[in-house]
């Protein structure tokens, strides 16, 4: 312990702060981030004394990459501006993609509707009213051909938010690429393929955890050989955060999920350095500016150290955490929706200052509906203004060395590592999920935030403060029922015209392979080429593996 005379901060508190506080007290008794993390009023050199620059921070491009994975930051290449989009029929969404690419978007990102995400065809009972509503409806290879009609897959990168049926949708993409003459060895993009966060937060699971993990390691093995530039998984904190997690919980559960996938890959007999470089991440860009920046910086450090020290990876590419980010949907308000443009801009700025490799900015109308084309364009313009006008992309990690940011980065890391210890003690993330641990932690945080919001300890402008009546109504995108009719008619036609024998044979082969340990990707590709539907392929696996049902925790 330092004496008052030795400590500059203590002396300042005594000599300068206390008299000032006596004259005018602070706005609140305590200050905290949106996650409820207490924040001191001032950070000085004393707060970062235990941080060793070379060991813990280091220059960009150097281990542990706290300041970024590229030595030149965004001076070489800006982040990818990737706007998540999908609605209605494949024809509708194909049109939106062409609009976004024409407006200067640099990558595509596919949002699928709920029946597709849940591996159900539109004629299933549970698909009632859901077809094309939250994303684009993709039933078979035929729809995938339409979705990318006139878009050269060799020239763009595509991210696909698909999890339980990721292998089927990815196989469809590969076949479309093949039809266009694109080389699997050079095409690039991402499938989300992160089932653990589905069990934890988003709940779009189909099969139980263990066979779900096997599908994922099959994709790792297949891609390491056949599609080497593809990001085989996007380990996602986004949905964990949206479900109510704090920043530390998002960081901890996401990275611990990442370690779980690596462990399962290793256990399946894969070499760490053969598949880990294809793993990418996806974080939420929430509202608390500095906490978010610290979260991204801590993520890179934790991953680099875990890959080197826990898994003994030797390839630098295994150490480097690459991530996409998306501004926080949960922060958007239906009230005074134009305020959302400002929120999104600040959140996007934090992601950029945290070194995001790719970014989606939400549209102002997304608390109400899927975005209109005009709203989606404005969201993209927000990124372009940050990139080209603000000057923040001219220097690498401009906040590095800030006492506050470095201390917060360290705190985030410590918090995540504490969660790692708890989850390791349970036997791993699959076991922790089976016990409902992350689910319970998130439910607690979510309820705590709600209470703080109700007490107005946490403010949302336009909702619990600065409220105004009679907002002028916003024109929103309304998805009517015609999509469902169109897709149902297409499905009926497809079932009549395809080679029925071939479909049945390919599904039998898939079912048979599911009961063995052989890699399922070749069987899924065969079924896709035969125009088997997403629902049929998932049903084949349901028959072998069964379906997961969670015990709801409130």
């Amino acid at each position: 312990m330092k004496t008052v005379a030795e400590s500059g901060k203590a002396r300042w508190q005594h000599d300068t702060l206390e008299p000032a506080l006596k004259k005018s007290p602070e706005r609140a008794a305590s200050f905290s981030t949106v996650s409820g993390r207490p924040i001191d009023r001032l950070y000085t050199a004393e707060d970062v004394e235990t941080i060793d620059y070379d060991r813990d921070v280091n220059n960009p491009g150097a281990f542990p990459y706290t300041r970024g994975i590229h030595p030149t930051g965004y001076r070489g290449k800006l982040w990818t501006m990737r706007q998540f989009a999908g609605f209605g029929t494949p024809e509708d969404t194909n049109g939106r993609y062409k609009t976004l690419l024409k407006a200067g978007g640099t990558g595509l990102s596919v949002a699928f509707d709920l029946p597709t995400l849940m591996g159900r065809d539109p004629d299933h009972e549970l698909s009632l009213g859901e077809v094309g509503k939250c994303g684009v409806s993709i039933m078979s290879l035929a729809d995938m051909e339409t979705l990318f009609d006139g878009i050269q897959l060799a020239d763009i990168t595509t991210s696909m938010t698909i999890n339980s049926p990721a292998a089927m949708i990815f196989a469809m993409y590969l076949v479309v690429a093949e039809q266009q003459g694109a080389d699997w060895k050079t095409i690039s993009g991402t499938i989300q393929n992160d089932i653990l966060k589905e069990f934890i937060a988003q709940k779009e699971y189909i099969f139980p955890p263990r066979p779900s993990m096997r599908l994922i390691t099959d994709i790792f093995g297949f891609c390491a050989e056949q599609v080497p530039k593809w990001n085989t998984i996007s380990v996602s904190g986004y949905h964990i955060r949206e479900a109510g997690a704090t920043a530390v919980q998002e960081l901890a559960f996401t990275l611990r999920d990442g370690l779980e996938y690596v462990q399962w890959g290793v256990d399946a007999g894969l070499d760490v350095d053969a598949f880990v470089p294809q793993i990418s991440f996806f974080f939420n860009a929430h509202s608390d500016f500095f906490e978010e920046i610290a979260k991204y910086r801590a993520a890179r450090k934790i991953w680099a150290e875990a890959m080197r020290d826990r898994f003994h990876a030797r390839n630098e590419r295994s150490w480097k955490l690459r991530f996409h980010s998306q501004t926080a949907g949960v922060s958007l308000t239906a009230q005074q929706p134009y305020n959302n443009v400002v929120r999104t801009a600040l959140q996007a700025l934090s992601a950029v200052l945290g070194g995001t490799n790719s970014l989606h900015t939400n549209s102002l109308d997304e608390a109400l509906a899927l975005p209109t084309a005009a709203a989606a364009t404005l969201a993209l313009r927000t990124q372009q203004i940050i990139a080209h006008e603000s000057g923040v992309a001219n220097v690498v990690d401009p906040l590095g060395g800030s006492y506050f940011v470095e201390k917060l980065t360290k705190d985030m890391e410590d918090g995540a590592l504490a969660y790692f210890r708890t989850i390791d003690a349970m036997g791993g993330m699959v076991e922790a999920i089976e016990r409902g641990f992350p689910q319970q932690e998130i439910a607690e945080s979510s309820y705590r935030f709600q209470q703080a919001f109700e007490r107005k300890e946490k403010i949302m402008v336009g909702v619990n403060a600065f409220v105004q009546q009679d907002d002028p109504p916003l024109e929103i995108l309304y998805i009517d029922e015609s999509t469902s009719d169109t897709q149902l008619a297409k499905l009926e036609a497809l079932r009549k015209t395809r080679d029925r024998e071939r479909v049945a044979r390919s599904l039998d082969a898939l079912r048979a392979a599911a009961a063995t340990t052989q890699n399922l990707m070749p069987r899924i590709l065969d079924a896709v080429r035969a125009y088997a539907t997403v629902g049929e392929m998932c049903d084949a696996l349901r028959e072998v593996w069964g379906e997961y049902e969670e015990v709801p925790i409130i």
């Binding site: 029946p115 159900r120 949206e242 709600q450 109504p473 969670e550």
Partner: protein
């Protein structure tokens, strides 16, 4: 006095259950008996739960846009089972144009994003029919 019994249900394929869980807990903290059905409930399952649980109120959480299909079916089933006196409320994302239609079908309260929990609690307390 008997506690108010509320069935909180999440119909459709959507898994975003943050809202359903938060409101379930808030209603419980307000002294109600809350039965949370979990995910992916069909209208049939919800109506059966309401019957079995002797519910005073059904709260649906719908964000996906499937309300125009789910709600008419549920209301029909409630009528068939003689449960037309059960208060039905919805929380979630409902386009303005759909609100009058849902109210016509008998949905009493529709709560959009940002509604304070207290408002929902008071609405339920004030609108459940005295059951005999």
């Amino acid at each position: 006095m008997r506690k108010l019994r509320v069935v909180i249900a999440k119909p459709g394929l959507d898994g975003h259950d943050r809202g359903a869980k938060v409101i379930a807990r808030a209603l419980r903290d307000a002294g109600m008996e809350v039965i949370y059905t979990g995910l992916r409930q069909t209208p049939e399952m919800i109506a059966s739960a309401a019957l079995q649980e002797d519910a005073d109120c059904i709260g649906l959480s719908i964000l996906s846009g499937a309300h125009n299909h789910i709600v008419p079916r549920l209301m029909e089933l409630l009528r068939d089972k003689g449960l037309d006196d059960v208060l039905v409320v919805i929380g979630g994302i409902i386009p303005d144009v759909d609100i009058p239609k849902l109210k016509e079908m008998g949905v009493k309260g529709i709560f959009l994003p940002g509604t304070p929990m207290q408002e929902i609690i008071e609405f339920i307390q004030g609108n459940v029919r005295a059951r005999v």
